[in-house]
Symmetry: C2
Subunit: 346 residues, 2 copies
DNA sequence: ATTGGCACTCCCCGCTGCTGAGTGCCAGAC
DNA sequence: GTCTGGCACTCAGCAGCGGGGAGTGCCAAT
C-alpha cells in the first residue's frame, strides 16, 4: 500500500465530501477520481486511514467522512496556496477598487469584509487594527461649553476615539488658555507613544498641573485614559452571516451556538488573537476541536494577519463549517489580507 | 354572535398560536381560555373570522392560524401597552445601568441594543441618531504632516466623523497659520447648522479663500462635505441574530432571506424610516405583507422613535417572525426607547 | 344565539418490507 | 507483498399502508 496514494485518497474523500455533503464510498471515489486502482484497494486504504483516525463512518455500512484530524492532514498536505481565479480576482477589484480611494478606515474595512464574505461564501471577520501596537498621533481638546469638552484621540492607524468630559460645577470653568496649554501638554506627553506608554506618561501631566486646575485636568486625563483603554479593547467588523444558513452551508443543525459565538465578539477576537500564521502560506487554520470554544466544535477558521509595512497590526479571516472548501478559503483570505495591507500602507 | 366575543376569540387564537406554534382548534380554545361557551359556538365565530380573512386553515380539518390581517387586528385591539414586569425592568436596569454612566454614544447604543434583544428575544436594531436633523457642533482641523491633515466633525448628537486630507504635491504646504485661520472659518460657517445647511455655507468659505490657498482649502472642504454627507447616510447597530435560529423562533424555514435583508442594512433602515409612531402607544408595528420587501414576508417589525427632548432623532425596534409575542415586544421597545431617550437627554 | 350530535376529512405516526450503497474478508493473480 | 474480484452482510432511507385523533361543517333542537 503506497504511502502517497493514501494521501491522495484522503484528499479525494475531503473534496468529494465537501462537494456532496454525503459520506463517500470506495466505488464513488474511483469513479470520480482517476486513482487507477480498484474499489477494493481503496477500501484497504480507507481502513488504514480510519485506523489513523483521519476518517470515520457515521454508521456501519456507510461511506466515510473526514474527521477534524483528517481535515487537518488535508490542509497540511495542500501543495501550495491556489492562486485566485481571474473571476475571483476581478470580484475583489470590483468590490475594493472604489473603497481604496476612500481614506476612511471604517469604510475600507466594511468593503473589505463584504468582499471576503462574498468571495469565500463564508462568514468574514476583520479585526480593527490593534491599537495596543498602534501609536498616538494626535490628541485634540475641543471646548463645547464652559464646563464641557470633547477629547478626541487619533492614532496612526487612523482610528478615532472620542470622550465627553463634564467638569464638576464646584470646580472653576475651563478657560481657553487652559485648553490650549493642556492640549499642548497632552500631545507632548502622548504623541508617538503606544497606548500603555501614553497612559504612564499622562501621570506626569496630572502631577504638574497647577493646583487650581487640578480638578479639570484630572477629568480630562481620565477621559483620555478611557479612550486609550478602549483602543486596546479590540473591535471587529463582520459580514456574510447569511452564508451560514445557506443550503450549502454545512451547519445543518445547531446554528444557534455558532451565531451566539459570533455575536459575542470577544470569543472570535480571542480566537483570532491566538492564531499565528504559517510562514510558508501566510495563513493559519483552526479546525473543529482545535477550537476550544464549545459552540464552535464543528466550525473552522481560516485567518491571516495584515498590516501596513511588514508589521502585522491585526487579523482577518473567515469562519465556516469544518466541511468547508479550504483551498478557496485559504486563497481568498490570503489575497484579501494582502490587498488590505497594500491599501493601508498608503 | 356577540361582536366583542369574536375579538376575544381572535385574541385567544393569536395567543395560543404564538405560544404553541400549532394551529389551534375550537376545543383546545375553550379549554385554555374561559370563554364560557361551547366549542360549537366558537366554531361559528371562527367561520366568521375566516370569512373576514383574519384567520386561515393550513389545510382542511386542521385548526386555525392567524393571517397577517389577523395579527394586525390583534395588535390594534390591544387594550394598552402592557407595563414591563419587575424582572424585565430589572434586566434593563442591569444592562443599561452601567452604560448610562458612559458618555460614549457607540457604547450606549451597543448596550441598549443588546438589552433590547435579550428582553424581547428578537433581533434588535437601533438606528444611529439621524444626523440630517443633528447640528454641527464643532469642526477640528489637525495637521499630521506638512501635506496631511485630519478633519474631524463633531455633532450635537455626539457623533464623530473623520476624514484624512492629502494636499497634492504641486500645491504649497499648509502652514500652521492657515490651519488656524481655516479652522476658524469652517467653524464660523458650519457651527449650529444642519448638515445640508452646512454644506451650502461651505461654498462661501471656498470662494473667499486666497488664490494661493485655494487648492488646499478645496481639498479640506471636500473632505468635510464628505463627512457631512456620511452623517446623512444612516447607520445602525444590531444584536440578537442568534434569536432568529432559536428553537422557538418561528421562522421554521427560509431564514436566509431574512438574514440577507438584515445584513443589507439599507433595507432595514428604509423600513424604519417609513414607520410612524402611533400617538397613543408611541410605537409602530409592521406585519408580514405590510412590509414591502420580498424576503421579509413572514417577518414583523415593532419600532419606536427616540430622541433627546421631545424631538425624535432616530428609531429603534425589533424584528421577528409574524408569529411573535407582540405585547412583550411592544412593551420592550417602548420601554427601551424611553430609557434611551432619557439617557441621551443628559 | 347557542348547543350537542354526527359524519367526514386528513395529518401524523408507527410499522413493514425492500432496495441499494457500502463494508469486511478471503482467496487468487501479478 | 500488493492488488483485485467475489461474496455475504449491514443498515439508512423510502414508499406503502393503516389506525388514531383532532378538527371541521352542518343540522336540528333548545
Amino acid at each position: 500500500m503506497t504511502e502517497p496514494r493514501r494521501l491522495a485518497v484522503l484528499r479525494a474523500i475531503v473534496e468529494d465530501y465537501v462537494a456532496t455533503r454525503e459520506p463517500v464510498g470506495s466505488k464513488a471515489l474511483v469513479e470520480r477520481h482517476a486513482l487507477g486502482v480498484s474499489p477494493a484497494t481503496i477500501r484497504n486504504d480507507m481502513a488504514a486511514l480510519e485506523e489513523e483516525g483521519l476518517i470515520a463512518q457515521p454508521h456501519t455500512s456507510a461511506g466515510r467522512v473526514p474527521t477534524d484530524k483528517g481535515y487537518r492532514a488535508f490542509v497540511d498536505g495542500l501543495p501550495a496556496v491556489r492562486p485566485l481565479s481571474p473571476p475571483e480576482r476581478r470580484a475583489i477589484e470590483r468590490l475594493l477598487g472604489d473603497g481604496a480611494r476612500s481614506l476612511d478606515l471604517d469604510d475600507v474595512l466594511e468593503r473589505t469584509v463584504r468582499a471576503l464574505a462574498q468571495l469565500t461564501q463564508q462568514v468574514a471577520v476583520i479585526q480593527y487594527p490593534s491599537l495596543a501596537r498602534a501609536r498616538v498621533r494626535h490628541v485634540e481638546l475641543v471646548p463645547l461649553a464652559p464646563r464641557r469638552l470633547v477629547v478626541v484621540l487619533i492614532t496612526d492607524t487612523g482610528r478615532v476615539e472620542q470622550r465627553s468630559v463634564e467638569v464638576a460645577p464646584e470646580l472653576p470653568e475651563v478657560g481657553p488658555e487652559l485648553v490650549t496649554e493642556l492640549r499642548g501638554r497632552l500631545n507632548a506627553a502622548t504623541a508617538g507613544r503606544r497606548s500603555d506608554e501614553a497612559v504612564a506618561a499622562l501621570d506626569a501631566v496630572l502631577t504638574s498641573a497647577r493646583p487650581e486646575d487640578a480638578g479639570a485636568v484630572s477629568s480630562v486625563v481620565a477621559a483620555l485614559c478611557s479612550a486609550l483603554a478602549a483602543t486596546r479593547e479590540e473591535r471587529m467588523v463582520l459580514a456574510g452571516t447569511a452564508n451560514l444558513v445557506r443550503e450549502a452551508s454545512g451547519f445543518a443543525t445547531s446554528l444557534a451556538p455558532v451565531l451566539e459565538a459570533i455575536e459575542e465578539q470577544v470569543v472570535v477576537l480571542r480566537l483570532l488573537a491566538e492564531m499565528a500564521d504559517d510562514p510558508a502560506s501566510g495563513v493559519s487554520v483552526r479546525i473543529g476541536s482545535e477550537i476550544v470554544h464549545s459552540g464552535l466544535s464543528d466550525a473552522a477558521v481560516v485567518s491571516s494577519g495584515y498590516g501596513s509595512g511588514g508589521e502585522v497590526v491585526a487579523r482577518l479571516g473567515v469562519l465556516g463549517p469544518t466541511r468547508m472548501d479550504y483551498p478557496t478559503s485559504i486563497a481568498g483570505v490570503r489575497a484579501v489580507a494582502r490587498y488590505l495591507s497594500k491599501v493601508l500602507a498608503r
